[in-house]
């Protein structure tokens, strides 16, 4: 059974801090890893990673994948209160469904 585990479960930081979120996985026939941000309802797409060692960047967010050690990290620098959300990691393996981790709840305090 495919497994995706995220850590930490939650964290509280202050504006300007940097956060690092972790996602580890055990799946058969890995195809891609995706990061989503979930604020109120719908997960909104952040990144898709398919190759090891290539950093994807969008503004203050960046992510990297390690296919040897089976994990990915999502970094948020200079956090703002608008970054408060649940961050979801999902892995696509055999078939084309996504298996989600439990998410990391991030609270950024002013």
């Amino acid at each position: 059974e495919d497994k995706v585990v995220q850590s930490p479960l939650s964290l509280v930081v202050h504006e300007g801090d940097t956060v690092t979120l972790n996602c580890s996985y055990e799946v058969t026939n890995f195809r891609s890893l995706l990061w989503y941000k979930q604020e109120k309802k719908a997960p909104t797409f952040l990144f898709m990673l398919t190759s090891s060692g290539i950093e994807k960047k969008s503004g203050r967010l960046s992510s990297i994948l390690d296919k040897k050690e089976l994990f990915s990290i999502l970094n948020i620098t200079a956090t703002q209160t608008g970054d408060s959300a649940i961050y979801l990691c999902a892995v696509e393996a055999a078939g084309n469904k996504l298996t989600f981790g439990g998410g990391t709840r991030v609270l950024v305090k002013p």
Binding site: L34, P43, A90
Partner: protein, 114 residues
């Protein structure tokens, strides 16, 4: 920007009733999905749909559930006889291709079974 739209945003139904959740995927997408998220739990895969048929379904997707693409735009999830444990947020998603492309999610339908 194109988006996946879902209706209704919230539905309350009595146990045993049938419900139909509706989704309009992004127009040039070919793969469609339903996921659900019980309050406080993980997002779980229910079913994927391609070329007018189910391509994969989870153990959750039993005989009570069915999906349909009745016309060129809508994608529906029907729950025949709702149970209390069907209460959840149901998300529709679509992808332009099946693999290695981002899945775009709708805003969800919160289903409450009473």
């Amino acid at each position: 920007e194109p988006e996946v739209t879902q209706t209704p945003s919230h539905q309350v139904t009595q146990m045993g009733q049938e419900v139909i959740l509706r989704c309009v995927p992004i127009s040039n997408h070919l793969y469609f999905y339903w996921y659900r998220q019980i309050l406080g739990q993980k997002v779980e895969f229910l079913v994927s749909f391609y070329n007018n048929e189910i391509s994969e379904k989870s153990e959750i997707f039993d005989d009570q559930f069915s999906v349909e693409r009745p016309d060129g735009s809508n994608f529906t999830l029907k729950i025949r006889s709702t149970k209390l444990e069907d209460s959840a947020m149901y998300f529709c998603a679509s992808r332009i291709r099946g693999m290695n492309t981002e899945a775009f999610f709708g805003q969800g339908t919160r289903l409450t079974v009473v």
